[in-house]
C-alpha cells in the first residue's frame, strides 16, 4: 500500500496564495536553459557522438616529462579556473573604460619596426650588453675579505684592563674595592675566574706519537703496532661472537611459510578445530572442588608436647652456653693463632688500600665518564701492506687528523663522547587529488617496485 499525498484544495483568492501555490518550475527551467545557452553560445543539446570521439591512437609522450612539467608550470594555476570568464554574453557597456595593455599602448610604427628588426635578425645593443654582463658576472670570483681581527695588542704585558684609559685608577692610593666599583661602572668587567675552572682536566698529552706509524718504520715498531691492532680486533671479534652465540636463540631466522603458519595458528587460537580435541590438560571432574593450596587446620598441641618442646629449648640453650664457655678456654690456647690471623688481615687491608691508590692513579689517565655514552678509542690506522711504506712519493696518507683531534679531545675530557643527533628524516608522501588530476600518458615501461623480502634479524 502506497501513500499518496492527498491533493488539498487551496483557495486562490488572494495574490499571495497565487504566488505561493502556482507551480512555475517548468518556466524557470526553460529560462535557465536559455540563459545558459546565451552564456556558452551554443546549443547544448548535442548527441554523444557529436560530443565525444573514440581515441584510437595512443598518445605517447613526445617530450620529456621534465619539459612537460615545466610547460605545465607556466599555465595558470587550476585553482583560479573559476575566475576565468567563459561567458559569451557581451559586455552591456560597449565603451567600458579600462587600462590598455603594454602591447596595445605601443605605437604601431614602433611595432612594425620591431617586427622588421626581428625578421632581419637585428638585436638591440642594450640586450647584447646585458647578455655579456650576465656571462661576466657568472664567471666572477667572489673574493672574500679576511675577517679583520686586530691582533695589535700585547695581552700579557702585565697591564690591567682599563688602566691605560683611566690612569688615575692605577695609582696605589686607590682602594681595590673602589677600583672595582669604578671599572664596573665604566663598563669594564673584572670578573674573577673561579680557581677550579681552569685546572687541568687530564694528564694525557695533546699529541701522542706512535713510532710504528712512521712512513718508513722500524720493523719492531711496525710489528708492535700491528700487534696492537690485531689485539683490538681479536677482542672485538670475541665480543661479537659471544653476542651471536648468546642471542642465537632470541633472533632466529624463519622462513616466510613458517611465519605464515605461526600467524595462522595464533589467530585461530581458541576456535574449535576439525582435528582431534587435545586432551592434554584434563578437565576437573564435576562436583569435587579443589584448590591449589589445601586448607590449613589449627591443631592444638597437648601439654606433653609443649613440655617436651620447652625442655628441648632449654637443653639447646644450655648446650650453646657450654659451648661458648668451652671455646673461651680453648681460645686462650689459640691466642697466638688469632694474633697471626689479625696481622694477616691487616696486611690484606693495607694491600687493598695500596691497590686502590694505584687504581685511582690509573683512573686519572683514563677518560672520565661524562655522558651516557662511553668513550670509544679510535681505530689505529696502519698500512697493512708493509711494501707500500718507505717511499714518500708513493705514500698514501692514512687516517684523518680531524677525527684524531676530535677523539683526542674526548679522551682528554674536553668534549663529551656523544653521538651527533641528526635531524629526523621525514618521509615525503605524495598525494594526488582527483580535482587536479592531469592526464599523464603512461611511459612504455612500467616501473616495478623492489620485491619485498621478509627477513627477521639474521
Amino acid at each position: 500500500m502506497t501513500k499518496t499525498a492527498k491533493k488539498r484544495h487551496v483557495s486562490m483568492k488572494k495574490k499571495a496564495s497565487w504566488r505561493k501555490h502556482t507551480d512555475i518550475a517548468d518556466v524557470e527551467q526553460f529560462l535557465e536553459e536559455q540563459r545558459l545557452q546565451e552564456r556558452i553560445g551554443a546549443n547544448i543539446e548535442k548527441t554523444d557522438a557529436e560530443l565525444f570521439k573514440v581515441d584510437k591512437t595512443p598518445n605517447l609522450r613526445t617530450t620529456s616529462a621534465r619539459l612537460e612539467k615545466k610547460l605545465r608550470a607556466q599555465e595558470p594555476s587550476k585553482c583560479f579556473i573559476s575566475l576565468e570568464n567563459n561567458s559569451k554574453v557581451q559586455d552591456p557597456i560597449t565603451k567600458r573604460n579600462r587600462v590598455r595593455t603594454l602591447e596595445e599602448r605601443k605605437h604601431p610604427l614602433l611595432k612594425a619596426k620591431i617586427k622588421r628588426n626581428k625578421e632581419l635578425g637585428i638585436i638591440p645593443e642594450r640586450k647584447l650588453q646585458s647578455m655579456t654582463d650576465r656571462i661576466a658576472a657568472s664567471k666572477k670570483v667572489i673574493v672574500t675579505k679576511e675577517k679583520e681581527i686586530d691582533f695589535q695588542k700585547d695581552l700579557w704585558d702585565g697591564e690591567e684592563e682599563g688602566m691605560k684609559e683611566n690612569p688615575e685608577l692605577a695609582s696605589s692610593w686607590v682602594n681595590k674595592d673602589l677600583k672595582q666599583y669604578h671599572l664596573k661602572n665604566l663598563g669594564i668587567d673584572t670578573v674573577k675566574v673561579p680557581q677550579i675552572t681552569y685546572e687541568r682536566r687530564s694528564q694525557l698529552k695533546a699529541i701522542d706519537v706512535l713510532p710504528g706509524t712512521s712512513y718508513n718504520p722500524n720493523k719492531e715498531d711496525y710489528d708492535s703496532l700491528i700487534g696492537a691492532v690485531v689485539e683490538k680486533e681479536a677482542a672485538h671479534m670475541k665480543q661479537s661472537e659471544k653476542l651471536n652465540r648468546s642471542l642465537k636463540a632470541v633472533y632466529q631466522k624463519t622462513t616466510k611459510s613458517e611465519l605464515k603458519r605461526r600467524k595462522r595458528t595464533e589467530m585461530r587460537e581458541g576456535f574449535p578445530t576439525n582435528g582431534p580435541i587435545r586432551d592434554d590438560d584434563e578437565q576437573p571432574s564435576g562436583d569435587e572442588y579443589k584448590t591449589t593450596n589445601p586448607p590449613v587446620r589449627n591443631r592444638k598441641k597437648d601439654l606433653m608436647k609443649r613440655r617436651k618442646q620447652k625442655e628441648h629449648r632449654l637443653r639447646m640453650a644450655q648446650a650453646e652456653k657450654d659451648k661458648t664457655e668451652l671455646k673461651k678456654i680453648k681460645d686462650l690456647g689459640m691466642l697466638k693463632m688469632y694474633k697471626k690471623q689479625i696481622k694477616k688481615n691487616e696486611e690484606v687491608l693495607i694491600e687493598r688500600k695500596e691497590d686502590r691508590a694505584v687504581k685511582q692513579e690509573l683512573k686519572k689517565k683514563q677518560p672520565r665518564r661524562l655522558a651516557r655514552k662511553k668513550f670509544e678509542e679510535e681505530d689505529i690506522q696502519v698500512e697493512d701492506n708493509p711494501e707500500d711504506l718507505g717511499n714518500l712519493r708513493k705514500l698514501k696518507p692514512l687516517g684523518s687528523i680531524l677525527v684524531d683531534r676530535f677523539k683526542s679531545m674526548q679522551k682528554r675530557n674536553i668534549l663529551v663522547p656523544n653521538v651527533k643527533r641528526m635531524p629526523r628524516k621525514r618521509r615525503l608522501v605524495r598525494i594526488k587529488k582527483n580535482a587536479f588530476k592531469e592526464e599523464v600518458p603512461q611511459s612504455k615501461k612500467s616501473k616495478k617496485g623492489p620485491k619485498q623480502k621478509l627477513k627477521i634479524h639474521d
Partner: protein, 621 residues
C-alpha cells in the same frame, strides 16, 4: 624550631648542575651554549658521587660545576650570542620578504664575538698560552687547507693560513725547531718556544676528506678554530715582538691573491713561497738570549757533573741550530716542498725549486754552489758532480740526530734505513737495551764533515771552541791529579825530614782541606828555617829552580771510577729523608734495567756467535 636537614642541600648535591639546568639558567639554546663553553674553555665534569650530584637520580647526565656556569653567566659573550640570534632572525626576515638591500645592510652589521678578554682569562700568563699551543696549531694547520664549507667559512680558512705561516716564520727566525717525524698521518714537528716544547701535526697534502656526519661534528671543531685563531694571533704578536720583528710580517709574495682562490696549485705554492722569503726585522742588532748568559755564569763558579752536562747540551744545541748553515738545497718537483722548505730554513739552509713549476724560487737548478739536491725518484738523467743527490729522509734523520748523516745511505734508489720516531726515543733511558743496528744509526762517529763555504766560518769557530772546552776539562783533571801527587810526595818528604813549601792549589774543591794543611806546614817551616845553613838554603833554592823531566800524564780510570763512586755515595747521603725511599726505588729500577739489558746483550752476542760459526762452517764446506 630547629631547621630540618634535607638531602642534597649541601656538598655535592649543590655543586653540580645538569646541562639542561644550565641552559635554563643562561637562557641560551643548546648550540649557543656549546659554542660558549668551547670559547670559554669550560668542560663538563665527573662528580665523585654521581647519585648525590644528581640529587638521587642515577642515570648518567652531563654535569657542569655550578661555579663554572656562574662564571659563564657574567660574561659579555652571552649578550653577543643573543644579539647574533636576533640578527639571524632579522636577516632571515629580510630574505623572505625579498628585500636584498636590507639583508645586505643587516649582514654588514652582524655582531662580532670579541675574544681577547677570554684569551687573557684562560691563559693568565704567556707561558700558559704556549703550553696549550699543541691543539691550536694542529687545528689551524688542518683548517688552513680546507675548502670553504658550510660551517667553515672561507675567511676563517684564510685566517688560519695566515696565522700558520706566521708561526712557521717565527720558528724559522728563532731557530726553534727540534724534532721532525714523518708518519702516515702527517708531519709531526716539535719546536722549542720560550723554553716550552710545542708539538704539532701538519697534514699531508691534501687533507680534506668529506666526513661521515656522525663521526665528527664539524661545527664543534669550527668553534674550537674560532677561539684558537684569536689566541694564535695574540701569541704570534708577542712572539714576533720578542724577536724584534714587525707584526704582521710583510712578504714579497701575497699569500692570498685572487688567482689562488680559483687555482689550487697557486694556492699551495704561494704559501710555500711565503715560507722561503726573509722577513724584515725592526732592529738589525741581534740580542742575545738570556739562557746563554746564565750558563756562562754557572760555568765560572765550578764545573760539577751537572753543569758540565748542561754545557755540553747547550753546545750540541747550538751546533744543531746551524746544522744546514751554508748548505744549499734544491728540491725536485716530485718532493713535498712545504715541510722540507720549513725544516731546511729552520736550520739555516737555503732552498729553491724549479722556477718554471712554482713561484718563489731563489736559485736555479744549474747553480754550481748547490750542495744537496733532494730527489724522490729512482734515477735522474742529468746529474751534477758538485752536489749530493739524496732522498728527503736524509734531511729529517739528520735533524733528529743533530748531525749531518753520511749521504751514501740516502742516495737515489737506495733502500732507506728506517725512519725512527724521535719522540719515543727521548723517553728511552740510557740503561735500556738498544739493538746494535740502531746503535750504528745513532753513532756520532759517522758524522761527515761537509765542505766549508764562506758563510760557515762562524760555525767552524764554534767547533774549535768546543774542542778547546774539552781540552780545558782534560787539563783541569790533569792539574788536579798533579796536585794530589805532589801532596803525596810532600807527606813522604816530611816524614824523611825534608821541608818543602807546598804550591798553592787552585782547584776549588780542595781549598778548605789544603788551606788547613798549608797553615800547619807554614808554622813548621818558620821554626825549622832558622836552623838551616846558607848552603843548604841555596841547594834548596837550586832544587826549586831546576828543570825536571816531565811525566806523561795518564788518566787512571780505576781511580776515577772509584772517585765517582765515592761521590755518588756522598750524594746519596745528601738525599733528604723524605725522598730516600723514592731514591732507592729509582736505583733499584735502574739496576734491574741494566741487568735486563745485559741479559739481552749477552743473548744477542750468543746469537751472533752461533751465526758466525754457522757461516764459517758453510764457508768451509
Amino acid at each position: 624550631m630547629v631547621k630540618r636537614f634535607k638531602k642534597y642541600e649541601a656538598g655535592e648535591g649543590v655543586q653540580f648542575m645538569s646541562r639542561l639546568a644550565a641552559l635554563h639558567k643562561l637562557q641560551l639554546s643548546l648550540n649557543d651554549f656549546r659554542r660558549l663553553c668551547i670559547l670559554k674553555g669550560i668542560y663538563p665534569r665527573e662528580p665523585k658521587n654521581r647519585r648525590k650530584a644528581q640529587k638521587g637520580q642515577t642515570q648518567i647526565k652531563i654535569l657542569y660545576h655550578k661555579k663554572d656556569i656562574n662564571f659563564l653567566l657574567h660574561d659579555k659573550l652571552i649578550w653577543t650570542l643573543r644579539d647574533i640570534k636576533i640578527m639571524n632572525r632579522r636577516i632571515k626576515k629580510a630574505d623572505s620578504v625579498g628585500d636584498m638591500r636590507l639583508k645586505r645592510m643587516r649582514i654588514n652589521k652582524y655582531p662580532q664575538l670579541r675574544l681577547d678578554h677570554v684569551v687573557k682569562e684562560r691563559y693568565p700568563t704567556f707561558i700558559d698560552a704556549i703550553k696549550d699551543l699543541d691543539d691550536c696549531l694542529t687545528l689551524l694547520f688542518l683548517f688552513s687547507t680546507f675548502p670553504a664549507i658550510k660551517c667553515v667559512t672561507r675567511s676563517q680558512t684564510t685566517l688560519c693560513r695566515r696565522l700558520s705561516v706566521e708561526f712557521m716564520h717565527y720558528v724559522i727566525a728563532s731557530q726553534g725547531l727540534r724534532k721532525v717525524f714523518v708518519s702516515i698521518k702527517g708531519y709531526y714537528f716539535q719546536a722549542e718556544v720560550k723554553g716550552q716544547l710545542v708539538t704539532w701535526i701538519v697534514p699531508h697534502y691534501y687533507p680534506y676528506q668529506p666526513q661521515a656526519k656522525s663521526e665528527v661534528d664539524f661545527r664543534i671543531m669550527a668553534n674550537f678554530v674560532e677561539f684558537y685563531t684569536t689566541m694564535c694571533g695574540f701569541v704570534n704578536f708577542r712572539l714576533y715582538h720578542s724577536l724584534n720583528i714587525a707584526y704582521p710580517p710583510q712578504f714579497n709574495v701575497s699569500i692570498d691573491s685572487e688567482e689562488s682562490q680559483t687555482d689550487e696549485t697557486t694556492f699551495v705554492s704561494e704559501r710555500i713561497a711565503a715560507l722561503n722569503c726573509e722577513i724584515k726585522k725592526t732592529n738589525d742588532e741581534q740580542f742575545e738570549e738570556p739562557e746563554e748568559m746564565d750558563l756562562q755564569l754557572i760555568s765560572n763558579e765550578g764545573d760539577s757533573e751537572k753543569v758540565k752536562k748542561m754545557h755540553e747540551r747547550e753546545k750540541a744545541l747550538k751546533r744543531k741550530k746551524n746544522l744546514f748553515k751554508g748548505l744549499k738545497f734544491f728540491i725536485n718537483r716530485e718532493v713535498p716542498r712545504e715541510p722540507l722548505v720549513f725544516v731546511i730554513r729552520c736550520f739555516g739552509g737555503k732552498v729553491s725549486w724549479d722556477k718554471s713549476c712554482f713561484v718563489g724560487s731563489t736559485f736555479d737548478e744549474d747553480d754550481e754552489t748547490i750542495t744537496h739536491q733532494i730527489v724522490d725518484r729512482p734515477s735522474i738523467s742529468k746529474q751534477y758532480i758538485s752536489r749530493d743527490y739524496i732522498q728527503p729522509q736524509w734531511v729529517f734523520d739528520s735533524i733528529n740526530q743533530g748531525v749531518l748523516l753520511p749521504t751514501n745511505k740516502y742516495f737515489l734508489g737506495v733502500t732507506l734505513p728506517p725512519h725512527l720516531s724521535p719522540f719515543s726515543n727521548a723517553h728511552r733511558e740510557i740503561t735500556e737495551y738498544v739493538p746494535p743496528e740502531e746503535k750504528a744509526l745513532r753513532d756520532p762517529n759517522l758524522v761527515v764533515q761537509h765542505e766549508i763555504s764562506d758563510v760557515e766560518n762562524e760555525d767552524d769557530e764554534d767547533g774549535s771552541k768546543q774542542t778547546e772546552g774539552e781540552l780545558n776539562l782534560a787539563l783541569v783533571n790533569a792539574f788536579r791529579e798533579e796536585n794530589k801527587q805532589i801532596r803525596a810526595e810532600n807527606q813522604v818528604e816530611e816524614k824523611g825530614g825534608k821541608k818543602i813549601i807546598e804550591p798553592e792549589s787552585e782547584s776549588d774543591e780542595e781549598i778548605d782541606v789544603t788551606d788547613m794543611l798549608e797553615y800547619s806546614d807554614d808554622e813548621n817551616a818558620e821554626v825549622e828555617e832558622k836552623e838551616l845553613t846558607k848552603e843548604q838554603k841555596r841547594e834548596l833554592a837550586k832544587e826549586k829552580m831546576a828543570v825536571k823531566s816531565g811525566n806523561v800524564f795518564k788518566v787512571d780510570t780505576k781511580k776515577e771510577k772509584k772517585l765517582t763512586e765515592q761521590e755518588l755515595k756522598l750524594r746519596a747521603k745528601m738525599v733528604k729523608s723524605r725522598h730516600k725511599k723514592l731514591y732507592h726505588t729509582l736505583l733499584e729500577k735502574r739496576a734491574k734495567a741494566t741487568k735486563e739489558t745485559k741479559l739481552l746483550e749477552n743473548k744477542r752476542r750468543q746469537i751472533d756467535e752461533t751465526r758466525k760459526k754457522v757461516r764459517a762452517k758453510k764457508n768451509n764446506a
